[in-house]
């Protein structure tokens, strides 16, 4: 089972994700505000990046959302729009049709999600 996904969120992705999720924290959608609090620009929602890990997992398991049983992640570092995110994973164990995959998400050499664990059911 190969967990491998690349995605480049476009400039307005954080705005669409804010609308879809209901999280309008200005740090995600207002570059000027983000700069005032010391960042180089508005940052991605961590839960958007977690959703990319979830998507990479279900895709690796064949695409059925019912195959994703569990996902845990640690948010470390910040993601930015207009830069490619790479999600990779390696199978830790497989038991009774359930595969546990150690996963991380990286952007520009920065591991923005670490120590993630996907639990996927083969369907």
């Amino acid at each position: 089972m190969e967990v491998d996904l690349k995605v480049t969120p476009d400039r307005f992705l954080p705005h669409r994700y804010a609308g879809a999720s209901g999280d309008f924290n200005p740090i995600h959608i207002d570059a000027e505000f983000a700069k005032q609090v010391g960042l180089s620009g508005n940052i991605l929602h961590g839960l958007y990046t977690m959703a990319q890990v979830a998507r990479a997992g279900t895709a690796a398991a064949g695409g059925d959302p019912r195959s994703l049983r569990r996902l845990s992640v640690q948010f470390r570092g910040m993601g930015f729009p207009e830069q490619e995110i790479t999600v990779t994973g390696s199978v830790k164990e497989e038991r009774d049709g359930v595969v546990v995959v150690a996963t991380e998400a990286e952007q520009g050499g920065n591991r923005i999600i670490r120590n993630a664990e996907l639990e996927l059911e083969r369907r």
Binding site: G19, A20, G22, G46, T58, P65, L68, Q74
Partner: protein
């Protein structure tokens, strides 16, 4: 100032969320999910779903509001400007589909301090209209300089 653990075990009033087909589509497009089951009722039911299913991470849409009162509860004592979302876990059960009414209850699971940082852990449990558990979330917020 050390963290106070008195609020561990405290829970907050339930929140309810009614899941709509177009909201599922909006969320799926935002996160790049392109499986047609998220958009097309016919394909969803042919794949064995009761109705159009939500992508698993749609869990944040119906359960995040349930966690907010704990984050701002003075009894928990989070210094909000210093808070970051440290880690997150979801364990999924019955799939959530369009038309479902999801009820979520959040409990303060743990409050600890390590290395000058406070770790505030909340657990949310979401069930559908038939009482089936759809997701269990563990939300860990870290506060620097406690």
């Amino acid at each position: 100032m050390p963290v106070k653990a008195d609020a561990v075990g405290k829970s907050y009033p339930e929140t309810t969320y009614e899941v709509g087909k177009e909201k599922i589509g909006e969320y799926a497009r935002a996160v790049g999910e392109d499986n047609p089951v998220y958009f097309d009722r016919k394909q969803a039911t042919e794949a064995g779903f009761r109705d159009v299913p939500a992508p698993p991470m749609f869990a944040v849409v119906y359960s995040a509001a349930s966690v907010a009162p704990g984050i701002f509860d003075p009894a928990v004592g989070i210094n909000f400007p210093m808070m970051v979302h440290g880690s997150q876990e979801f364990v999924w059960g019955e799939p959530v589909c369009s038309g479902d009414v999801i009820t979520t209850r959040t409990t303060v699971k743990d409050i600890t301090e390590r290395g000058g940082m406070g770790f505030y852990v909340f657990e949310s449990v979401s069930v559908n209209q038939d009482g089936q558990e759809v997701v269990r979330g563990t939300w860990t917020n870290i506060v620097r300089g406690v």
